[in-house]
Amino acid sequence: MALRVYINGRRDETEGPISVTDLLASKKIRPEVCTVAVNRAVLPREEYAATTVGDTDEVEIMLQMAGGAGVDWRSDDR
């Protein structure tokens, strides 16, 4: 059974065991732009390297969804 991984809600599979750091690297996801939950508990970023996940684990990766108007817009440009 493969490790259950969800990236922004989309199912993905990876062979475990694997560290969270290596899992993110395998998906080309930078740690600074995501939040990771293992079995529904958010994992502190400093624990990614030391945390190994396997076939009985469920990993949810939330890519940071952000942005905003910023200050680079002309108010008359609609």
Binding site: A37, Q64, W73
Partner: protein, 141 residues
């Protein structure tokens, strides 16, 4: 990648109402459905709580994804408001578009009437997607 985005008029109304209720701060959320057809909006907390920036609360984001899966829906788009600027991706939007698989919907309140547009953002480039407004109001869980 979403190629077509159908949004019921009722949900477009929800997005406008959410943007107006949160102004002057930006509001944000997710849109879910099947095969490009939006069936439900998930208003989420703007963790940045700013007039010119938004960030989805990651715990609410996770809860929304779980709810989508339980309802056999997929995340189709992330939406946010531009209370005082146009409905086009800003430099901030493009720089922070970390998920190229979903559409980015922007609700602008800068003009006399709300303006809602959708975009793909990939590789630092945005392309507009046409929003097909439908009258189907089936937004039940």
């Amino acid at each position: 990648m979403i190629e077509r985005l159908e949004i019921p008029a009722a949900i477009l109304g929800e997005l406008t109402a959410h943007a107006r209720s949160g102004a002057p701060l930006e509001v944000c959320g997710l849109l879910a459905g099947r095969e490009g057809r939006v069936e439900r909006s998930y208003p989420l907390t703007n963790a940045a709580a700013r007039e010119d920036f938004f960030a989805l609360d990651p715990l609410e984001q996770m809860a929304a994804y779980r709810a989508m899966r339980e309802a056999d829906r997929e995340c189709l788009a992330v939406y946010h408001s531009h209370p005082a600027t146009p409905a086009r991706p800003s430099a901030e939007d493009i720089a922070n578009a970390n998920d190229p698989e979903v559409a980015y919907v922007i609700v602008s309140l800068s003009g006399p009437e709300p303006n809602i547009r959708a975009f793909h953002i990939r590789d630092d480039t945005s392309h507009e997607l046409t929003i097909h407004e439908t009258t189907d109001e089936d937004t039940e869980d």
